[in-house]
């Protein structure tokens, strides 16, 4: 993990290798509903990360023995394209991808009302087209949007961000260099409205005090991401003021469910 180069990751003015401040996130751009086949989809660019998420479901589950009698089975596949990393990666799933598939699924499952759709599957696919550190966080962020785009009812939108320690300083949203060369990296996923943490992992070493600070920093980052998620979903429907008052006959809504 040690740097061979003498170049530092953070300089004396606390400016990071890509020009950011310690608690600054990378620029984020999100789009929703970009694939025509998937029931829901979303795409994120966060720094150099380029990640696509898509949802199919709830739908019939195959193989049948995976069906759960009382809720939908959430199945998640996190996968990296061969050209997404510096050295070409074989398309076959690696152990890392399998672990990430599991923790991502467990980060999102608490937010979904799976109990509404017993015996079905909700299939979530995350494809990393380009990776630059923090892909599981960006993947969760965009997966939550894909789920919302698919109209799957949720308790909250899960947002995700990583924080950590690099060259003695506590930083937010580590890129690939910082992740590999720093002292600690802590990805977090969070449901802001319910104040619930659904993913927490850590590589590295932190004192008890540092851990608290890093976690709080990460949660702040998650809140920022959450804002962006909401804005992205809302921006598809520029409606609020326009639809006010007049035309009461138009607002008849069926009383279903």
């Amino acid at each position: 993990m040690s740097q061979k180069k003498t170049e530092k990751l953070i300089d004396e003015n606390d400016v990071r290798i890509d020009g950011r401040k310690l608690d600054e996130m990378r620029p984020v751009k999100i789009e929703v509903g970009i694939l025509s086949n998937a029931d829901g989809s979303a795409y994120i660019e966060q720094g150099k990360n380029r990640i696509l998420a898509a949802v199919y479901g709830p739908r019939e589950i195959h193989p049948k023995h995976q069906a759960l009698p009382d809720r939908a089975a959430l199945r998640c596949r996190y996968h990296m394209a061969p050209f997404s990393v510096q050295e070409r990666k074989s398309p076959a799933p690696s152990r890392r991808e399998m672990e990430l598939s599991k923790v991502i699924r467990e980060a999102l499952e608490p937010s979904i009302f799976t109990e509404y759709y017993p015996r079905t599957a909700i299939d979530l696919f995350i494809e990393v087209l380009q990776a630059d550190g923090g892909t599981r966080c960006a993947g969760i962020t965009v997966a939550a949007l894909a789920l919302a785009d698919a109209g799957i009812p949720m308790r909250d939108l899960v947002s995700s961000c990583a924080a950590g320690k690099v060259e003695g300083r506590l930083v937010l949203d580590l890129n690939d260099f910082e992740d590999k060369g720093g002292e600690a990296d802590m990805p977090i996923a969070y449901m802001p409205n319910l104040n619930a943490i659904t993913l927490l992992q850590m590589d590295g070493m932190l004192t008890g005090e540092e851990f608290e600070q890093v976690l709080n920093m990460g949660l702040e980052g998650c809140k920022q991401i959450s804002q962006l998620q909401k804005e992205t979903l809302k921006s598809k429907y520029v409606v609020a003021k326009e639809a006010e008052t007049e035309g009461e006959e138009e607002t008849e809504t069926e009383a279903e469910k």
Binding site: E60, P153, M154, D156, E249, E252, K257
Partner: protein, 243 residues
């Protein structure tokens, strides 16, 4: 009785809508005395209930709904039908034939074959089993002509309109027969493909602008305009000074 959303405000899953004292309606849930949205949509309320009109949601079967289904498989006792829902539906032979089924003689594919579309009704559905259909009522059965389009199911009420006003307008102005499935599938059958295209265009416009007001008027105008243009082109001989 605190409410945190304005009427017809766009909300996202997890947004806090109200506290206590309200009944949580569709697309919301209650936790610790607070009511939150479960889907992206427009929040609204009356005196008692707070609810969200979802902007995008898939169809969940309801007993009594009329739906348009597509046959996926012919089985021993009936057909497996795709109704654009999380569950595949089943149409048993006994719900398709008015008389008792004779397994040796009755040729199920001749009634409905793989790929056939039907208008059917949901007669049974609960958490423990897949929906059951019937085609034995009036107006139900195989669809043999027309164009089928799919829209997001939450917009179906808009396409129908208050007391059917919108769909009647479209039918009248395009001369098409239109059958609407609650599952977001619609079959349009007209005298000409152009008439059908007109109806399709109107429906797609409703889907796009369902959240805006004055829609019925705009659709009426649009259809009249499109329909009005055509006779002018055809009747080149008779100088028509219409409208």
């Amino acid at each position: 009785m605190p409410i945190f959303c304005e009427r017809r405000q766009v909300v996202t899953p997890g947004d806090l809508l109200a506290e206590n004292d309200y009944i949580n309606g569709e697309n919301t849930y209650r936790e610790n005395g607070k009511i939150y949205a479960t889907r992206v949509g427009l929040c609204d309320h009356d005196d008692k209930r707070i609810y969200v009109v979802a902007l995008k949601a898939f169809y969940v079967p309801m007993v009594g709904d009329t739906i348009l289904g597509k046959v996926l498989e012919v089985t021993l006792g009936g057909w497996l039908v795709d109704i654009r829902a999380p569950y595949l539906a089943m149409l048993r032979a006994s719900d398709a034939l008015e008389r008792p089924v004779r397994p040796q003689k009755d040729d199920l594919p001749s009634l409905f074959d793989v790929g056939d579309m039907m208008i059917a009704k949901i007669v049974a559905y609960d958490r423990t089993r897949d929906p059951l259909l019937t085609v034995l009522e009036r107006g139900l059965g195989k669809i043999t002509r027309g164009q089928i389009i799919e829209i997001t199911p939450t917009k179906i009420p808009r396409v129908i309109g208050k007391k059917g006003s919108m769909i009647t307008t479209i039918k009248d102005l395009t001369g098409c027969q239109i059958m609407i499935g609650q599952n977001g599938r619609i079959v349009i059958s007209g005298k000409s493909p152009e008439d059908e295209q007109l109806a399709i265009m109107a429906i797609r416009k409703i889907e796009e602008e369902a959240h805006k007001t004055g829609l019925t008027d705009r659709i009426t105008e649009l259809l009249k305009k499109e329909k009005g243009e055509k006779p002018k082109k055809e009747e080149v001989e008779n100088v028509s000074k219409e409208n």
